[in-house]
Amino acid sequence: MINSSDPIFASITRDEADTITRLHDQLVAAADADRLLDVAYRTVDSPVGTLLIAATDQGLIRVAYQLENHDQVLQTLSERVSPRILHAPRRLDQVARQLAEYFAGERRDFVLPLDFQLARGFRREVLTRLVMIDYGRTETYSEVAAATGHPRAVRAVGTACATNPLPVIVPCHRVLRSDGTLGGYVGGLHTKAALLSLEAGRQSDTNPTTR
């Protein structure tokens, strides 16, 4: 990998990987101490694929499915929040643990500070409403619209769900169409069905259109 133009450096081996890993950890600690780490992120494995999770000082700001392209999600965070972004797994230990418990069926509520800055206006209003839908329950898009005081804003509720920056944690998967079909989901319908099955205490649903 050495980009040297002189062959004398060809003998350099990549003994550096371990050193860089260690220095990276030190950088994260120093950045944290100097309050320079605006966005910390890590990935976690889950039954619905690898999730990217990211947090600011304010709280969890983003949960992203692989479908959303994690590199693209980080790039968007860089532009909309801050480019001071580092892979800092320990800053997200609590989130990772609660997610693991949720997917194991051992947790019904997330107790985490949330940063809603990626959702503005009515979309944010919808998200704060979604948090009130209990584990294992579902509501329709029109019920959510009515609950926000804008009963005709059904499509806007759909958009708010589709652009939810905190899926799983803010349970937009608990919102269905009035006819009982799934509607849409940022992580794909299969994932929505799997989360609903998990919360209903069933094995993962393999047919995404049956609900």
């Binding site: 050495i2 004398i8 003994d15 220095l23 320079l36 790039q75 480019p83 972004i85 580092l86």
Partner: protein
């Protein structure tokens, strides 16, 4: 369109480490790396979008290295002793540290020119901006440095131990 800083560390971290090792002995090299990236993280939001990130990082590393060398000399340790100290330390050193040591033994201008052009891959024009002087002077310094380095490194490889590098 600023990339996440993590990508900057991943892409340029190894190069900056080589540059630091080329101009500073262990453990100063790693300290300089850390200081470089903390300073870069601090300034990153204000960096021009079109900037040459590698040249920017090497420039910061250059200043951190000079600070470190000044701090050393303020502690009144003769230069020859520094080289020796770095070899008697128990700390782990990479297998090619003989090459780095030979590089660090070059006169300052040659050392920086070689590190920034041959190790970091910057153009002679960028090297000249960092170390001062003309582009031609940077090219000459790098050329002279490489010639000395090739001679010394070859000699040191024929020696059974690290002792040889001191001679």
């Amino acid at each position: 369109m600023k990339r996440p800083f993590e990508e900057i560390v991943a892409q340029h971290g190894p190069t900056v480490l080589r540059v630091c090792r080329a101009v500073l002995a262990h453990p100063d090299a790693e300290d300089a790396w850390s200081e470089t990236f903390v300073a870069a993280l601090r300034a990153y939001p204000e960096l021009d979008d079109g900037a040459n990130v590698e040249a920017w990082l090497v420039t910061i590393a250059h200043h951190k290295a000079i600070d470190a060398l000044r701090a050393r000399s303020r502690r009144a340790v003769p230069v020859a002793e520094i080289a020796e100290t770095s070899f008697t330390t128990d700390a782990w050193e990479p297998p090619d540290d003989i090459l780095w040591a030979a590089l660090r033994a070059l006169p300052a201008k040659q050392r920086h020119a070689v590190a920034y052009h041959h190790v970091a891959g910057l153009s002679y024009a960028d090297v000249a901006t960092i170390i001062g002087g003309s582009t031609d002077a940077a090219r000459r310094a790098a050329h002279d440095g490489i010639r000395t380095l090739r001679r010394r490194y070859r000699n040191s490889q024929q020696l059974p131990s690290r002792e040889g590098i001191r001679s």
